[in-house]
């Protein structure tokens, strides 16, 4: 039976020398930016930036129908559609047109309920009138329609 040889004790190595490298001093710059910009009344895209946070609000549309003997079926600005709209209302919608003035598509469909029925639409964008006078809804075959690109007031 083989016997284990007793291992010779290890020679202790001397402790390593401490090497201190010279480094450039660390400068910590804390910059706090507080900014408040772009909040003018007529700015249709209000940008509120506080400490870097940004909120973009969309354009505000309001409308009113004057009607007699007709029913408004649909009303839309671009692809924002309101079915059976009430006689007046408002909503917010992005306007993405990069041109000046910006344009959106207005569509209205209506039906005549009684002979001689008629109606108009008034539209506002950011509280400014889009039409100088209320836009009449022309009727033919008992159906009223508006389909046009309209320039938004600046």
């Amino acid at each position: 039976m083989a016997t284990k040889k007793k291992a010779a004790p290890k020679k202790k190595s001397p402790p390593p020398k401490k090497i201190i490298k010279e480094q450039p001093p660390i400068r910590i710059i804390v910059e706090v930016v507080v900014r408040f910009e772009g909040l003018s009344a007529d700015n249709k895209f209000k940008i509120l930036s506080v400490a870097g946070a940004t909120e973009v609000l969309t354009g505000n549309f309001s409308y009113a129908f004057q009607r007699q003997g007709i029913t408004i079926l649909t009303f839309s600005i671009d692809d924002y559609i309101i079915n059976n709209p009430p006689d007046s209302g408002s909503f917010q919608k992005d306007v993405t047109d990069p041109n000046v003035p910006q344009k959106v598509r207005l569509q209205v469909t209506a039906r005549e309920d009684s002979p001689g029925g008629n109606g108009t639409i008034s539209l506002k964008f950011e509280n400014k009138d889009v039409f100088a006078t209320p836009e009449p809804i022309p009727f033919s075959g008992g159906v009223g329609k508006i389909n046009k690109l309209i320039s938004l007031p600046q």
């Binding site: 895209f45 940004t54 007699q68 041109n99 469909t109």
Partner: protein, 454 residues
Amino acid sequence: MKKIIITVFILTTTTVSYCQFLTQSAEGKSSIPLPLNGAGIGVDIGKSEVTFGLNNYENVLSGKRKFLLGLNLSAKNSEGLANLFSSGSIVPQSDFLGFAGFSVSNNNSMIRQYNESKNVELLTNERKTKDSLFLVFKKEMKEQLFLASLKIKREIIRNEIIKEITLKIEEAKSIVPIRKYLKEFEKNGLDTFKEDLLKRFELKEKEYREEYNKVSTEYNKLINQEFDQLVSKLIPFRSTFFLLGGINARSFTRFLQLSTPDFSKSFQDTLFRGGTFGLGVNLQVKNFWLGVTYSYIQGDNFSNLKSKEYTLRTTDSSGNQTLLREKKIIAYSGKYSRVETNQLNIDLIGEFNLSDTSRLLASLYLRSSLYSRDNAYLKNYTNIGTGLYFINKKGKFLGGLYIELPDINNNFEKAKPENEINIRSPLRKLSFGIVTKFNLSSIFAWSNRPAKPD
């Protein structure tokens, strides 16, 4: 009574003289005037008539309700306003009418047609395409920002600027706030960077705008085509079935016969109470309307009586004194009786565009009093006619003309003594005239203010 009526006129005309009159009966005399907007008071000065109406027809038209209900109360002086002021003649007449019905339309179907149309699909696609263009623009702008930022030597500031502007670009929903932000961008020592970035922005903005306008032009053409096609497929339809019923009353003075020695007994105050009950149907297809009403009328032959003004003078004498008293009496003479009849009204109306500013309403109508229970007092008659009415785009009545063939069966002529009968050919009987006011009975929601002369 006179004072009351005048007071009511003054009050109502100065306060709540808003009303729209709808259907009217065959003669255009006892009307069914209804305000469109729920409730209202109307005053017809010409007829010295005050009307109060209440109904839910507006909700029915808008599709919120299918059942229609309403009532109507009117009071007037049968002699009109002129006689009220000139002679104090008052023949008070009041009507109370109620109606109930059911209306169905294809409004919801037309709305669905719109929402499921290619037109709406194009509107959505156009928006999505433009959104994609904007996303591409944003991506390219971020690349341009990085390139422009190389002009900033200090890395820490460069990274900070990139982070700040990138946030603005990412959060913007249109190009407007980006443009505004960049133009107002101010940082010390970064003028060269700003100048370079603005140049790059303007270049990309131009490319983006060109692409945007190209997409707009393409979609504009397609949407216009699809919208026109969609509208041509919309066919408004409505059918309304209704029952109507009511009561009416009239108070007047009849001249019976000369009574001696007391002339005052020649006159008799008469109170008439009658009623009506009927049914009706209205149909609308596109720009054509058909209205039919059929009613049972418990009435009288008041319209055949002749109105005369009498002056009754009485004299009282005592010694050499004489006292004269004078009283004016408006009385109706002729054979009078209550008569039950049936009444049929039919209207067919078509509306046509004449120009961009005016429209033409063409109507055919029939007014018929049938099954008189007492032919000796009230004859049956049938009138037919046609009317052409011009209105402007805003619905204002401009004027019109009508042609009517009264009593097509000559029943009134045939009832006369043989030596007085004068039956003329239809052409010679035609009556026509210029219309400044008109009504088309039996059509619900007929909202024209004017009424055809009685």
